[in-house]
């Protein structure tokens, strides 16, 4: 059978199984099974067991549960409740005032939590009541939260980048370092947008709060600095070539346990709860990755990825055109899939195409994560939208409208990194290997 037809059949099967409510991991296994049993002569059963096994004890993947665990521990400290008071004095004087707490707070929380919905919920829970009380514009408050909440996916140590590194076989260290600059870029773009809006209409952000001394500011954020210090130590050890991501993650876990102990939030119960939380998240992701590894091998046997990659040549797709098409595809998929599934489902087919077009896979990883971030705030399935919906009691349409400008701002950042790819690639060149 023609590879084009096979790919259509498998794609239709994949979508209908997902839509029928079958879980993502067994869907991947089922599609892989049909590809092997239906369109190749390879032994499906023994390939299944050996591929799933190989994908499950991957060294690169060992960083994943550890970073998830670190986040779970820090998440259970007083960090989240201290976030608002800790950041407020630093940003209160900027135009837009405390709205910046949402953006910077999400930026810090993102480094800790690694999941966008949790980032959004944790920061929002503290800041929304405060902002409402002071008469801030609710639409802008919701928008900043929705937009910056997604930073959790990009700002390292990011679970999403580990997942990409594993499926695309790229160095996770390099991906982490590459993720820093665009993360800061997006924070700056969001802050600039809020400042402009607040300058044009000061009524959006009425109350800046009292003037505080430098010492007061330091005292208010005494818990924030150790956490930021820990994150910087983790990233610094990777950047300096002192540690692999797994080792850095272990240091992060130990540091987080020490911090939790010092702030008095480390109990037997919270320790076990953090560990079980890490099991749930990392098990879910590792299972999907194992399924994806099998589907990817099965696809290879059918020859579909090779044929699709050759279309890139045949249609004379320029890298720019391909990126544009993929952006549209991902935004469409993001309307009903979560980030990890989206990235993993498309990898087997998309990565060979991207390589054929001569696009750097490191750059492409950052690109994908930003597009997946955008997908978190597109209806009908946008996890950040759901969080904000239940937090504010507004309907989905209002929350989506509030988030829309931030969607456009992220598109802008994609345009920026497409025009200046070195913005991502340059810091990586100075890493100690």
């Amino acid at each position: 059978m023609d590879a084009g037809v096979i790919s259509l059949v498998l794609f239709a099967l994949l979508l209908s199984l997902l839509a029928s409510g079958l879980w993502v991991a067994p869907t991947l296994l089922a599609v892989g099974f049909v590809a092997l049993a239906g369109f190749s002569s390879a032994p499906a059963g023994s390939l299944l067991a050996s591929t799933v096994w190989d994908a499950s004890w991957n060294w690169a993947l060992t960083a994943l549960p550890l970073f998830v665990w670190m986040g779970e521990i820090l998440f259970r400290t007083r960090l989240s409740s201290d976030m608002f008071n800790g950041l407020a004095p630093w940003v209160a004087r900027l135009p837009g005032g405390l709205l910046h707490v949402n953006i910077v707070g999400c930026g810090v929380m993102a480094a800790v939590a690694g999941s966008s919905a949790v980032t959004c919920a944790t920061v929002g829970r503290m800041s929304m009541p405060e902002l409402r009380r002071r008469g801030y514009d609710e639409t802008l408050a919701i928008g900043t939260l929705a937009g910056s909440g997604t930073l959790g996916l990009l700002i390292p140590p990011s679970i999403m980048l580990i997942v990409y590194g594993v499926v695309a076989q790229q160095s996770i260290s390099r991906l982490f370092i590459a993720g820093i600059a665009p993360g800061i870029l997006i924070i700056c773009i969001f802050m600039a947008y809020v400042m402009v809006r607040a300058k044009l209409n000061p009524a959006l952000a009425p109350d800046a709060g009292p003037r505080t001394t430098f010492m007061d500011k330091l005292r208010a954020s005494r818990l924030l600095f150790p956490v930021m210090g820990l994150i910087m130590a983790v990233l610094g050890s990777i950047y300096g070539g002192y540690a692999t991501p797994t080792e850095a993650a272990t240091v992060g876990v130990v540091g987080a346990l020490v911090l939790a102990h010092l702030t008095g939030s480390l109990t037997r119960a919270s320790f076990i709860e953090s560990l079980m939380g890490a099991v749930r998240t990392s098990c879910m992701i590792a299972f999907i990755l194992a399924g994806a590894a099998f589907m990817s091998i099965a696809m290879g046997f059918t020859g579909v990825p090779r044929v699709l990659a050759s279309y890139v040549d045949a249609w004379q797709l320029s890298p720019g055109m391909l990126i544009l098409l993929l952006t549209i595809l991902y935004i469409f998929l993001g309307c009903f899939l979560d980030g990890v599934s989206m990235m993993v489902l498309t990898a087997a087919v998309v990565l060979p195409m991207v390589q054929a077009a001569g696009i750097d896979l490191l750059w492409f990883g950052i690109f994908t994560v930003i597009v997946v971030e955008m997908a978190q705030i597109t209806p009908p399935v946008g996890f950040n939208l759901f969080v904000l919906q239940s937090m504010t009691g507004r309907d989905l349409l209002q929350v989506t409208k509030a988030a829309a400008p931030f969607f456009v701002l992220m598109l802008l950042s994609i345009l920026f990194i497409s025009v200046f790819p070195n913005f991502i690639l340059w810091p990586v060149q100075y890493m100690v290997q």
Binding site: V251, I272, G277
Partner: protein, 175 residues
Amino acid sequence: MRRALDRLYLWSGYLAAAFLAAIAVTIIGQIVGRFFSVAIDSTETAGFCLAASTFFGIAYTYRESAHIRVTLFVRLARGSLRRYLSLWAVGMFALMIGYLTYWSFDLVYFSYKFNDISPGLLAIPFWIPRSAMALGALTLTIALIDEFVCLLRGLPATFDAAELDTAPADLKEAL
């Protein structure tokens, strides 16, 4: 029976947690070893702990409704249609994992028979870590058959409650 099964899922979850912590412990061993210039290579042991953690945790994660699926359309279904959709999803899941379980035991058996040994310094016989995969997959198969039977008897699915608000477990906690 019910209590025994629930205990099986929970304790396999605890076992997964122990293996997750064991990843960190082996890595600490490697880092400390480096300070005293003792070569401890944790690459393999950490990988084996990861695989064990994943597979022992897989049934527990299922019972906690933390595996991901698209609920966009399923959520719209009510009454008996919803029940049939749940039966279909759980049944398909059980078939796939049952198949995986069978071939995992096959893999364990042949790694034992042909004395397949890991390439690292420790040279661990592969059948030991691979047993974790087979046992974990078996536990999930049991959990899925358990769920399927419960659905047939007209009980609500374990994932129904968690999916009503479509939020993952840790998220609900955050809210």
